[in-house]
Subunit: 225 residues, 2 copies
């Protein structure tokens, strides 16, 4: 996902600066851009040289003033960045979470036939036999989760009885973990406090997303489509 080329990275920043300064459709002079953005002129001069060499800006010299125009190729480059930005649906809220190892109860429940059948029915997949536990680090993020749960209607997997034991219902909400769509589960009978989110997926998320205890992840709190 990262744009590997540093020159292109700087060019994108330069083009965005031009556009923010009103230069989408109008030439901007170096002095005006320096004034608008607060970026030092020598920095801009270097950036413009790179961008011009790449064909991303057009320079028009008039007396001592240098005017710059975002080229068609420059607009195309920015449109590529925008596709990256707007890919995927917009999250209701984003929070940070820290990966930690739970007591293994998630793995136990996810291996029960009663839950597996119900998850397949409601979510379309049999979950990996284990949950990924996330600790929410900040108070404001915990508040975001509480608001999210109030706002979004969950999918409810009903409880059941197996071998004379009853198992409670589970509320399910969609989340995205470091960009990966998966589901947060909130069992009726819950052992964790409000600062923990348990996540399930058809995949082993730790392996798929290369996560280990203590890693910080981005959690997008979503709604059902």
């Amino acid at each position: 996902m990262a744009i590997s080329n540093r020159v292109n990275q700087r060019t994108v920043l330069l083009l965005i600066s031009l556009i923010q300064s009103g230069g989408r459709d109008k030439p901007i002079s170096l002095s005006d851009l320096a004034e608008f953005t607060g970026i030092p002129k020598p920095t801009l001069v270097r950036w413009f040289k790179e961008a011009e060499n790449g064909g991303y800006v057009i320079r028009a010299v008039k007396g001592k003033r240098h005017h710059f125009i975002v080229s068609a190729k420059g607009l195309a480059l920015l449109n590529g960045v925008c596709e990256l930005i707007s890919s995927g649906e917009k999250p209701i809220e984003r929070i940070a979470g820290e990966v930690f190892t739970g007591l293994g109860e998630g793995a136990y429940y996810m291996s029960l036939e009663g839950y597996r059948r119900e998850f397949l029915k409601h979510l379309g997949y049999e979950p990996f036999k284990g949950t990924l536990n996330l600790r929410i680090i900040s108070k404001s993020a915990i508040y975001s989760v509480i608001k999210w749960i109030e706002k979004v209607r969950p999918v409810i997997v009903p409880g059941f009885t197996e071998s004379g034991r009853t198992f409670g219902s589970v509320r399910i909400y969609p989340v995205r973990l470091n960009g990966e769509l998966c589901h947060a589960i909130f069992p009726e009978r819950r052992h964790y406090n409000a600062d923990v989110i348990e996540v399930i997926s058809k995949d082993n998320l730790r392996r798929k997303l290369n996560l280990k205890d203590g890693d910080i992840v981005t959690v997008d709190l979503l709604s059902w489509d």
Copy 2:
């Protein structure tokens, strides 16, 4: 059009840097961002402080490492910038032109009833009685114009006879001047060389776009969608 607030401008640059470094959906550490972008750490620290105060990034501290996540509000800010970038159709090519005062022939022809009637019929407006003349500054831009004229099929306003005098046909192409949609005309009998574009519009473009001789303008070479 310009985003007036410099803090927001810097925040946009920071968020774009994060996204280019792969941080759309994943937390990025300050060190990684500095390495990816080549932006000095102290600069990033200042930018992050501003962005965090505005709620555009989420900071998660883990030991000595600071991780940053683009917040939902940050994504919304970027989507606003992207709307600005992708507004209007994409030009085939962009060039720079310099405004100059012609010999007044354009004004003469544009005042002829024969042409006025035909322009109204073909373009849907009676043109302002004058043309805006643009000198194309670079050789590569002249080449772009020649390729554009070869590629795009013109609207042709036929010639006519008035008071025993014959007037030639005119080829018309759509252009955008500093973001303003208008038309370039290429009369069959032309007094200018390939380095000049004559532009017409229903408005007085000099007044509307606040242009004077010597001003540099952005010319988008368009096609008839």
